[in-house]
């Protein structure tokens, strides 16, 4: 199917009646990035862009098109649900972006493998730091188990990123990198200072800052290989905005501000009331048993794995 549908839409009704609309709409609402590889969908979005932008604005969302050649939906209001990528998804996404920028990947036509991804992550972060990133909850690390956790965690994150249209999964653990990966490089793009681009992206809601490693509570990003892989990053449905007199009242008052640019405020720390007294201790006592035992305490961190949900109001 050609990329351009060469169809001119007179009004929104024609767009909605188009056969591709239901699939494209659902994909966008689920966080899918649509690029030129999705030739038909991309062509439809290009043709109907003006009308769809107005359409989604009524839902408090922005249909964003990047010059790299991809679309995605960015909810900014409270009518559509949204979530933030988990730390592991961010790590893997950035590693994949580095591979996307590598000349060696050009030779393969943008196709890489899980091994190359692991090698890239290990080279960029260092093996120790990589293992710590995927085993944050563990007090004592058995090397073999920790490495297994990294491998399974990376695979799980890749599957989720594939669900969002950042990569395609091919047979034999090969991965086709897509141009939408450039979103991971967006905050460090441009000739100006990094902070400038980041501030702009945070202000637009496209990016949120997270805690630094030192501040992050233990277990923010611990991986569970046994955790159910969820390629569809569905969040809880966004509740309808209700009447909230208390919150509305006083909203117009000036908020006390510190020195920090409001755009650069970080996401709140996830609640982990007993992150230190989790059941990790018993699992670590026998680190050779198997990875299941190591992951017994990770079910509570599944929400962290999926990233922080932002249900409306």
């Amino acid at each position: 199917m050609s990329m351009e549908t060469n169809q001119t839409f007179e009004d929104l009704a024609q767009v909605v009646e188009h056969e591709l609309f239901p699939d494209v709409d659902l994909a966008l609402r689920r966080g899918r990035h649509i690029d030129r590889e999705d030739a038909a969908w991309y062509g439809f979005l290009t043709d109907a862009q003006a009308m769809l932008e107005r359409f989604y604005r009524r839902y408090g969302a922005e249909l964003v098109q990047r010059t790299d050649g991809f679309f995605f939906l960015l909810p900014s209001g409270d009518k559509l649900g949204r979530r933030h990528l988990s730390p592991s998804e961010m790590l893997v996404g950035q590693g994949l972006t580095l591979l996307y920028l590598e000349p060696a990947t050009v030779e393969q036509g943008g196709i890489t493998s899980r091994d190359q991804l692991l090698s890239q992550l290990s080279a960029s972060m260092g093996t120790e730091q990589l293992m710590l990133a995927f085993n944050a909850k563990k007090k004592r690390l058995d090397e073999r188990v920790a490495q297994e956790m990294v491998r399974s965690g990376v695979s799980q994150a890749v599957r989720r990123l594939a669900g969002l249209g950042f990569v395609d999964l091919l047979p034999e653990e090969r991965i086709r990198l897509r141009s939408s990966l450039m979103r991971f490089a967006e905050p460090v793009r441009g000739s100006g200072a990094d902070l400038e681009a980041l501030t702009r992206l945070v202000a637009s809601g496209e990016v949120a800052l997270t805690e630094s490693d030192d501040d992050a509570p233990a277990g923010d990003d611990a991986f569970s290989p046994s955790a159910e892989a969820d390629s569809s990053p569905d969040a809880a449905p966004a509740p309808l905005p209700g009447w909230s007199e208390g919150s509305e009242w006083g909203a117009s008052f000036d908020q006390p501000e510190g020195d920090v640019d409001p755009a650069l405020r970080t996401l709140p720390k996830p609640e982990t009331p007993d992150s230190d007294s989790d059941s990790d201790s018993d699992s670590d006592s026998d680190s050779d048993s198997d990875s299941d035992s190591d992951s017994d305490s990770d079910s509570d961190s599944e929400s962290d794995e999926r990233g922080s949900e932002e249900p409306s109001s």
Partner: protein
Amino acid sequence: MPPLDPASPSASPSGEASALLALSSRAPKLELSTLDLCFLATLYLRGQSSGHSAFSEEQLFEHFEQAAQVVERDPSSVRKRATHAIARLRAQRLLSRVDGAGLMRAGEYALSRLGASIVSFFLEEEVLTAETLTLLTRTLESSLRDVLVRAGAATTAAELDDAVVGPLKVTVHELMEGIERRQRGLDLQQEQFQKEISALLSADWFGAVESCQTLLESTAATLRDLNHVLLSESHRLQAQLEDLQELASKTNASSAEEAIRRAADQIDRIAAWSAGRQKSWSDYYQYVHRFLRDVVRLDPSRALTARLRDQLSGKSGKRFTLAVASTPAPLLLRDVAPSPERPPVKRPRAERDTPPSEQAAVDPFAVLEDSVRQKLDAGAASLRDVTAQVTAELPEEERFRAAGRVAQVVARLARTRSERERPWLPVDEAFAIEEWTLPRKGGAAG
């Protein structure tokens, strides 16, 4: 051993196995150093330039020396090394003696077919171009036309087989193999281009854009031309083969039909290769163009990669996370199907215990009395007679007990008399009783 024809019946799994077995039993192996290969190449090139395929021993030494100087720049002990090299190449059947003079004089040597093939693989620039392809297909077309003329003149199946099978196997087959060999050459060249593009970008990121685009354009143009030539030529070739096939069918020339079918398959394969290569190269072309435009041109100093790497390693920058839409899939409620009415659980209404009913009781003593009475009325003369007759109807284990009751009933119903000497007489084999006589009323006792 002749090479296996992929289309021949011997190319079946069992044929392959036997061919492999035969090959392995001969334990062939090749060991060639760079100098050996260059020596062979020197012979090959000299043979082509001079038109002579055979070399004297002196010429061999001379050519080896030239190759050694180019490859190793070490002229020491060249003659000795040449002797070893020639022996090694002869043992591996890459070089063969062709004069047949034996001891009589110094020999003449030539590259074997194997040696020439190896060298031509490394040397040949035989990649498919629009010019070579046009030339080859035109020659192929001309050969097929000749075959068609000869086939048209044939009147019998044998004549048609002779006219078709040989030329198709030799001329047409060789030409098509020539095309396929050049296709493989082009495949290799494309692979080299992909590596070259990657190497160019690695060496000079932004400066390589132009050269990369030139490489892409040249290959794309070659493939486009090839596809165009093949599309037009293959139709003509197939049409000629169809005419041949029709002639073969009319005369029932099965061998010719088989040869024509194989040639048609080969042409289809060549056309499919062209379409496939153009598609895959088109994808690659678009990908690299996008990469050059979106990545290389927008980041000429590779600063983006460096910053992203620093970000990933935590050396610089603030940690961030991307926001994505996350609306759950719409819930589809199932249709409510009314559950079937189930009967309530109840106790059975009918009484399980049936009430007792009155039954006439049988008095065994009365029965016995009746029986005794009947025996007495019948004229039994003694207690033993009555007892024997009554107990004969009873089971054996009850007879002894019943005998006492018989005596009681007899004593009540009849007059009895016993002798002073009371005799004990057996009733049956099991027991005996004291005998009473039973006198009749108004008469002498029985």
